[in-house]
Symmetry: C2
Subunit: 314 residues, 2 copies
Amino acid sequence: MLSGDRRALARVISLIEDRDESLRTIIDAIYPKTGNAFVLGITGPPGSGKSTVTDKLVAEIRKRSGKRVAVIAVDPSSPFSGGAILGDRIRMQSHSGDADVYIRSLGTRGKHGGLSQSSKEVVMALDAAGFDWIVVETAGVGQTELDILRLAHAVCVVLVPESGDGIQVMKAGLMEIADLFVVNKSDRPEADKLVRELTTLIGMNEKRSAHDEWKIPVLKTQALFSQGIDELFAQLQEYRAYAQEHGVLAKRRLAFIEDEIAGIILDEVSRSIRRNLSNTTGRKIVSAVYNLLETPHQASEKFYHSKSDQKTLK
Amino acid sequence: MLSGDRRALARVISLIEDRDESLRTIIDAIYPKTGNAFVLGITGPPGSGKSTVTDKLVAEIRKRSGKRVAVIAVDPSSPFSGGAILGDRIRMQSHSGDADVYIRSLGTRGKHGGLSQSSKEVVMALDAAGFDWIVVETAGVGQTELDILRLAHAVCVVLVPESGDGIQVMKAGLMEIADLFVVNKSDRPEADKLVRELTTLIGMNEKRSAHDEWKIPVLKTQALFSQGIDELFAQLQEYRAYAQEHGVLAKRRLAFIEDEIAGIILDEVSRSIRRNLSNTTGRKIVSAVYNLLETPHQASEKFYHSKSDQKTLK
């Protein structure tokens, strides 16, 4: 995989998705090769055209920089909302002749949970495999999607006038995660109104967080006609340079590492709790709660301090 | 709240949503009053009409049984997908004159994470407040939604022919959680085809899990015209009696309690990890990972065994 074999890469990603037992060995082996990629998150409500933006941006990155690009399309609710992402994959075949573009979808595969942890590890694998840009496109703006975007060095939020007004953007928590806004399908009426609303809200936010010198741009695109994509790429390059220089990349990489470490520990603790819940002591405690003799909080304290738990948790 | 004051109930739910510090005291006080309600989850892909099914079912429960009903509409991606749920709330005002129906939406309020834990606690509050039926309607079939539905005693999956075929239903993990299927808008072409596909898939599943004697029904409804809702209510009553008799309710209540205890512990461990990551030892470990001297797994082991961690985790 490290020498650029695409099939090996695909296999590693499948092992990550399946939470295979060999995972730890693999991650330990590839981790020292990471730390070079720029990870861009692209999100937005359904119908905003974020997939088209991604598609055109990939073409622009290839044309302007010649760098290798990987795209992972993450959809926590596939296969039901899978229509769009399936469509993407077909459309994305415009890059299929390009050995320096790698595209992969990540869904829940019927087993739920763990998508956020898997996404981080897939990003590590792509980073180790030498991709300079890793674009993480999420299917929507739900809780799981926003959790996943914590792994990005930059987040681009794609909106259309129809998807809502500035207040909704703020309520959805998108103000807090956006480093760039794109108003797509900008030929539609109301596009300028949304741009103005966003600009005002950004201005208000900036007063609150004066330490950050990056001025969040609000760009207009018509991605379907490749309009505005050159400016988007230019702004991303500028952001990347800014983030490198001002320690933002370092800060986000540290946050990524903390999330990954916490994720590994929580996975392990979670398994340990499940084991302890089903042993003799555990079943007694659960049964006391079932019979309303104890509350869940009281039980959790017993658990946390119970002998078997101490042994397992060290 | 326990004496039926709706305003007190609304305040308690807000405290739960805000993860207020008084939470533990409140849950400890109300928990002994729980264990009487029947918790029904209703889910389905967007556009399946599950809100209409919920609305009509509430009316049917009220008419047939006279029991008190609470509805919580959970949407992990509000406010963007909030259109539908807002619509519901307006439509649900058909029950607004009825003091024995309580309706509440739960969204992410801009802060992400914790919706699954909050939902469990809101269900406890409604149970303690004396609602006999608690209907939990989710906005879609994403990872978060399916996690949330683990709290239900029964799950009703609402589909329409347009939302996909049987194979997609299986892939989305809905076969594993459904206790009843509803094919809504059943006047549309292809409805019977979906009913046949689901029935076949259920038959195949039953062979695998022969211990379960409940035969999952596939019902046809046209909820907008209240058609098929009487049959749905009848099947739910039958399921409730079956589940009571065969220990299914007991099993699900035990699973709920285990989830709640695990959730409380994981919340606490998570906070403890975050504290430890930012103390002197923690920062040293994270920095070693940042500099590629250690892998996240190696670091997580140090953490897990580090002095400060032991002290906090006990």
